[in-house]
Symmetry: C2
Subunit: 219 residues, 2 copies
DNA sequence: AGTACCTTGTGAAGGATTTCACAAGCACCC
DNA sequence: GGGTGCTTGTGAAATCCTTCACAAGGTACT
């Protein structure tokens, strides 16, 4: 018999590291489910996600109570709960700005779609790129951006333009109503209150590695 | 007259967020230098990096004392100091494993080189990709991986293989002596003690955005 | 029905990081 | 040479995040 139903819980403010870990748990659970497992303990989840079992339980406890004491978590149920928590019980249309090397790679990335995100538009200033097709989506001129955002109502934009163009591109998508942006350009952008900007910065990632290598005298 | 010289400081253990911010400061300073500015205050640096001036000063203070009270920091000197702190006073050879869409995009990414990282090898199992050239580097067969690592002595590997192949690829590069890895596959990997693995996970980034959008009722 | 065993959920403790706030240093001007 | 104004460097306080540790709840087996 079903319980009546997935407690939409209190939830105050959740730390970003927690949200990142939840995403990681979900990723692992999906694979674990495919392998045919029915339940999982916080300990197993922790090992897979590189944390501790207490951390896993604490992370989940912010949103409700999903496990059975003595048994662990029902894999399928936990997947459903995590999807709901993360806002993945609906699909998210996404636009990509910049159809260069990285933009094209992303547009053709299948994992995008399998995680609930649909690329509904991709834009470029370069006339020679406009009109080419990437994974079923035709590259459109950047002047179509605002109109398309109005009609396709994506909520997320991915910026794959050169650093010099990134702030301007951000301003345009924000002006058109976008409130969540993933930025691949290696520049830090300023956005108005209420707009979430996340950056994927290759140089920073490599530099963190370089730092770790030069300071491996830590124990 | 030169001071005698950039204090190689005490330095205990530095938190990762600090290192990330230092990388961000460096990125901004390089642009700021090109614009011809000679000095910068912690406040300006903070605005550019999305933090506070106290945070900037605290971050730097772990490594020494780089500013002049009343004036701020000399841009060129601070750039040099940050490069040294991050281990960027030498160039880093890097190998890329997997010459698919993302691996190819990275291999052709110029920003890689301008930040001190040289792609010295790129490897793929697919015979149809082997032999193609990407930005001056020829794709080689994955069986050449261990030998090349021995002769080219890269210290960093970037994994751009499918999720199923990622752990095996990690094990191979680690076995060949690599101790720092950047993983683009959406799987969390386990590495032996002493090996630093960082992950760039597109799905997680988008999910954090989706979470932010669904919970924008935070003030 | 009772016992043994296992794993969750969670206050409380502990640790880490960020923010505060201010003394000290430096440049510039009168 | 003393005063003014600005900005750094840094202990101390505050906040945030993780880990601990254990009661509570559940299963399985006898
Ligand atoms: N290639 C990589 O692996 C990689 C990795 C990390 C970060 N990046 C960053 O991603 C961004 C793009 O890199 P890339 O390698 O794809 O470069 P690219 O030159 O291949 O692509 C950039 C594309 O953006 C288009 N563009 C320029 N201004 C535009 C605008 N205002 N609106 C729409 N489109 C515009 C250009 O026409 C071009 O097609 C850069 O900021 C780069 O630093 C790239
Ligand atoms: N394309 C993207 O935008 C994107 C974005 C984020 C993450 N990723 C991840 O990056 C990885 C690669 O994605 P992609 O889109 O480039 O896929 P792809 O299929 O285009 O490329 C994968 C390449 O790896 C090669 N390969 C497979 N096993 C290998 C092995 N053991 N050794 C060496 N090479 C091997 C394949 O021959 C292929 O050329 C995947 O894990 C994907 O999830 C891709």
């Amino acid at each position: 018999m079903k319980d009546f139903t997935s407690t939409p819980p209190p939830v105050k403010h959740i730390a970003e590291p927690t949200v990142r870990r939840l995403s990681g748990y979900l990723r692992f659970l999906e694979a674990f489910d495919v392998e045919g497992h029915e339940t999982i303990s916080s300990g197993e989840l922790a090992r897979a996600g590189g944390t501790t079992s207490a951390q896993v339980r604490k992370d989940l406890s912010f949103f409700g109570s999903f496990g059975k004491r003595g048994l662990g978590y029902a894999v399928k149920d936990l997947i459903a709960s995590l999807r709901e928590i993360l806002g993945l019980d609906t699909r998210w249309p996404v636009v990509i700005v910049g159809a260069g090397k990285i933009g094209a790679a992303l547009a053709q990335y299948r994992g995008f779609g399998t995680h609930g995100f649909d690329v509904v538009g991709i834009y470029d200033t370069d006339p020679s790129r406009v009109g080419t097709r990437l994974n079923g989506v035709t590259v459109r001129a950047d002047r179509d951006l605002e109109g398309d955002i109005a009609t396709l109502t994506p909520r997320i934009a991915v910026l794959c333009v050169p650093g010099e163009a990134a702030q301007a591109a951000l301003d345009r998508v924000v002006g058109a109503g976008i409130r969540a942006v993933l930025n691949f350009a290696p520049t830090s952008l300023v956005a108005p209150e209420g707009v979430t900007v996340r950056a994927v910065n290759m140089a920073t990632e490599l530099e963190v590695l370089a730092y770790a290598l030069t300071n491996e005298s830590r124990d």
